[in-house]
Symmetry: C2
Amino acid sequence: MHYAKPLAKLVSEFEKLPGIGPKSAQRLAFHILRINEDEARELANAVMDVKQYIKLCPVCFNYTDQPRCEICSDAKRDRSVLCVVSEPRDVVAMEKTNEFRGMYHVLGGVISPMDGIGPEMLKIRELLARMTDGEVKEIILATNPTIEGDTTAMYIAGLLKPLGVKVSRIAHGMPVGGDMDYADQATLIQALQWRREI
Amino acid sequence: MHYAKPLAKLVSEFEKLPGIGPKSAQRLAFHILRINEDEARELANAVMDVKQYIKLCPVCFNYTDQPRCEICSDAKRDRSVLCVVSEPRDVVAMEKTNEFRGMYHVLGGVISPMDGIGPEMLKIRELLARMTDGEVKEIILATNPTIEGDTTAMYIAGLLKPLGVKVSRIAHGMPVGGDMDYADQATLIQALQWRREI
C-alpha cells in the first residue's frame, strides 16, 4: 500500500481505461493532484455528461446529443449514398477525409462467431429498412479490412444485391506512404488482387 | 466538428492529460461511452475525491488523506534515517523497493533557475526544522540524477553538513540490466566516477 486510499482508488480507476498501464495511471493521478479543483471538475463532469447526453441517432446509430445526429439532420448531405461502418469512431475517421458527402449507417460491430456476435445483433435490419423508400442508390461497405469486417461486408452485400442497389467495398491495398518491404503478406496479396490497369 | 458536443468536450478534457494525444483521447472517450453509468461515475468520483481528501502531510509533505501520512504515523519505521526526494511519486518508487525503512521528506520540486524555482520555494526550511531534535542521524539525498537534482542535493548537503548529520547521495551509474553499448555518455562518465573497488 504505497498510496493514500483516494489516490489508490483513482490510480485503479485510470488503470481500467484502455491503453493505460500502471505507470501511466500513476502519472495521470498525480497530474489530477497538481491541477486545481475546477479543472478536475471539468474532467469529472465531462465524463458524466457523455453518459447523460450522448445517445444513438435513431436513423444511422452514430453517437449524438440531439434527437437526430448532425449528419442525418444536414439537408446538404447526399442522401443517395450510404456508407456502412462498424463503429461510431469510423464515422469520425471518414468525416476527417472531407471526401465523403453522403450518409452513414453504423452497424455497432461486426459479425464474429468467435465472440458470439451474429448478424441479428448488428443494425442490419435497420439498414434494410432504410432501403424501402428507394432514395439510396449506392451502399459503400466500409467495415475494416479484417476477416470479420470482410465477412460482414459480404453478408450485407448478399442481402442488398437482390434490392437492385449498387454495392461497393472500400479498396484493400498498400497504405499511402507505406513500404513494400515492410508490408505484411496479407496486405500485399490484397494489393495484387485489387490492382487496377493504369 | 466530427463529434457531438458533450463527446467533443470529453475528448478535449482527456487531451489535456499528460501523455494523452488526440487519438488516445478519442479512444478513452469512446470507452466511456461503452461502459455503464455506474462505472463512469466511479471514475468521475475518484477524480473529485482526490481533490477533496488528499492533502500534504505536515511532517514530510507526501500526499495523504490522514492528519499525518501513513509512513510518518508508522511507529515501526526508523526515525534516524531520512530520505529526501523531489516529488511524492519518488516516495512510491522508493517504497516499492521494500528496502528502505526510514522516513521521507518531499521537497516539492528541485532548484531550477531556468524555471524560476529557487530553494526558498521548496520544503528545505521544513527539512532543517526536522533536524532540531537530533533524532535524525543520516540524510539520504535521493533527488533525480539530473543537473537540477544534483544541484538541489549539493545545496541541501551544504546546509546540513554544519549540523554534524551524515549526508549521502544515491549512486549514479549503469542501470541494472542496462547495456554498456546503449548507455549515454553522461551515465558512463558517472558510472566511472562512482566506481568502487571490489
